[in-house]
């Protein structure tokens, strides 16, 4: 799915950086300071919630975060939003184009 997403974003003219786990994601965030973070929750090494906790007190806290996960329980959504995410998307409920719409809305 990451492949599809990256491909779609590139075609729309966005520059992307990919991370396979939370820790790599955190390094990329601090080093590159992107305009938008698309974050999964179930991740190896450091999960999405832990990642949000880590960036909460840093400069990266200002970067909008869009959660894209297979977890769709109300508790998960509430927790993600409480930790500062701008939006929460359950993968199975949205199409790639829906997601592009959300990205455009957040970063223009």
């Amino acid at each position: 799915m990451r492949e599809i997403l990256v491909e779609k974003l590139k075609r729309e003219g966005y520059e992307t950086l990919e991370a396979v786990d939370g820790e790599t994601g955190l390094k990329l965030t601090t080093n590159h300071h992107p305009d938008l973070i698309i974050l999964d929750i179930i991740l190896p090494v450091m999960n999405g919630f832990e990642y949000l906790e880590k960036i909460k007190d840093t400069d990266a806290a200002k970067i909008p975060v869009l959660i894209l996960s297979n977890l769709g329980q109300k508790e998960d959504i509430d927790r993600g939003m409480e930790l500062g995410a701008k939006d929460y998307i359950v993968k199975a409920h949205f199409t790639p184009n829906d997601l592009l719409g959300k990205v455009r809305a957040l970063v223009g």
Binding site: I4, E7, K8, R11, I42, L71, K91, A92, P96, N97
Partner: protein, 477 residues
């Protein structure tokens, strides 16, 4: 499980009550003041002793050829009175014993009149009235007088009753001291039979009663304790059941969340892959390729919905569905919802339309997300199980203080014999199973739950092969 619990609770309540009563109620006599109790028992004892004395005196009188007459019988039954008189006149007994039961303060004139007295020996009052009875009736010889009259000649044969006060003075006879409370001891002496009843001391009686109370209390406490022990053993069982249910429920919930995640991951991947293929992101498709991919996409969407339904049902049953009621414009909600189903309706070649009410509509407190979920289920069914060129009509009406949302279709309908099971969990009608193999039968169960959480109700009218009308009624306030 429910029946088992009920039995345990009934058992517990009975055991608890016995335990409480055995400790409180039955121990009350034990807490009672002995002196006060003795006062109460005096009357009782005197009556009993008097009764015993009477029994022996009657026996002795009969042995001596006397006649014992029960005045109660005489008072109550005229015929019997005549028989007794006849018997009396025939026998002309040496002694006349008159059984004067307590409360008989006016002995019958026949027996106590001088005429009868002349014809018999002395009359004896057999029943010694207690607590201040007044027996100043002409012709009556008190027992004391009687005994002193026949003494010493018959003393050996006839019994003797002694009622003594606490100084040892005899207060024997037809006129016991009205202040009976002073009497400490009642003695019946029957010389030729030995001392039959010697002492009946009210104080001893009070103590005896006290010990009887303790005895009873101990027995009942033991019984109560047996109940309580059984209860405690079972209480652990109840707790264990509850605990196990909770653990199971949590395990089920965690398992389902995990399962949903595991199921959603490939479903989401499939969805995205097919969707991008269908939208031509990876090159154009020919018509056939597109048609089959569209079918795959549709099946995948069904599976996504199934997983969602399963999760929602689990949350409803755990009471964690989390309702948030807000004042909502229902016309707008329905308009949006119907618009979202346009594509599906076109694909199925079903005409879908919503009649927006002409007048402004009151805003109603609902949980828009949940109500949307419920109505989506109804619309999805109405379109999915419709005929080609069928119709689905959605109406919104206000009837008095209620809102009615009506979803009417020209679909396959519901078999009449199955309609009463329509809203139960995992139910799928026979005709629907033939059309669509996939489905858990959770949709309408979910709808009913959501509607009822809004203090409303859902009704259905249907004819197999012709269509169905679902009506959701919600209160405005």
């Amino acid at each position: 499980m429910g029946r088992e619990r009920l039995y345990i609770w009934i058992f517990a309540i009975i055991g608890g009550l016995i335990f409480i009563f055995s400790n409180l109620f039955w121990l009350l006599p034990f807490l009672e003041d002995v002196e006060a109790a003795a006062q109460r028992y005096q009357y009782e004892i005197a009556q009993r002793i008097s009764g015993q004395a009477q029994f022996f005196l009657e026996k002795q009188l009969r042995a001596l050829g006397g006649l014992v007459i029960d005045l109660v019988e005489v008072d109550l039954n005229k015929k019997k009175t005549e028989t007794i008189i006849k018997k009396f006149l025939e026998r002309q007994p040496q002694f006349l014993g008159i059984n004067l039961t307590e409360g008989e303060l006016a002995p019958d004139q026949y027996f106590l009149s001088p005429v009868f007295m002349e014809k018999s020996g002395p009359a004896v009052l057999l029943r010694i009235p207690v607590a201040g009875s007044d027996l100043d009736v002409e012709g009556v010889v008190s027992l004391a007088d009687f005994i002193s009259a026949i003494e010493p000649a018959t003393i050996g044969q006839l019994g003797r009753v002694l009622i003594e006060d606490n100084q040892g003075n005899g207060i024997f006879g037809g006129h016991p001291d009205p202040d009976w409370g002073e009497v400490a001891r009642v003695t019946v002496v029957v010389p030729n039979m030995g001392w039959l009843v010697t002492v009946a001391d009210p104080v001893i009686e009070a103590w005896a009663n006290k010990f009887r109370a303790i005895n009873l209390a101990i027995v009942l406490m033991l019984v109560g304790m047996v109940f309580v022990v059984i209860l405690m053993v079972n209480f652990r069982k109840i707790l264990n059941i509850a605990l196990r249910e909770k653990q199971l429920s949590r395990a089920k919930s965690e398992y389902l969340a995990l399962m949903a995640h595991q199921l959603r991951t490939p479903l989401a991947a499939t969805k995205w892959n097919i969707k991008t293929l269908l939208e031509g992101d990876w090159g154009s498709l020919n018509k056939k390729q597109k048609k089959f991919l569209e079918r795959s996409y549709e099946s995948n969407e069904q599976m996504v919905k199934l997983v969602d339904d399963l999760l929602n049902i689990t949350r409803i049953e755990e009471g964690r569905f989390g309702y948030k009621f807000v004042k909502t414009d229902l016309a707008q909600l329905l308009e949006k919802l119907v618009a979202g189903f346009r594509h599906q309706a076109q694909q199925a070649r079903v005409v879908l339309f919503f009649r927006r009410p002409k007048k402004p509509f009151p805003r109603v407190a609902v949980d828009p997300e949940k109500l949307n979920m419920a109505l989506s289920n109804l619309l999805d069914n109405a379109i999915r199980y419709n005929h080609l060129r069928g119709r689905v009509e959605v109406n919104l009406e206000k009837v008095n203080s209620q809102i009615k949302i009506v979803v009417k279709d020209t679909g396959v309908g519901i078999p009449a014999k199955q309609i009463n099971r329509l809203f139960s969990k995992f139910f799928r009608a026979d005709n629907v199973v033939k059309l669509q193999v996939v489905g858990f039968g959770l949709g309408l169960y979910l709808v009913k739950n959501i509607v009822e959480k809004h203090r409303g109700y859902i009704e259905v009218e249907s004819k197999e092969g012709e269509g169905s009308v679902f009506t959701i009624t919600l209160p405005i306030k």
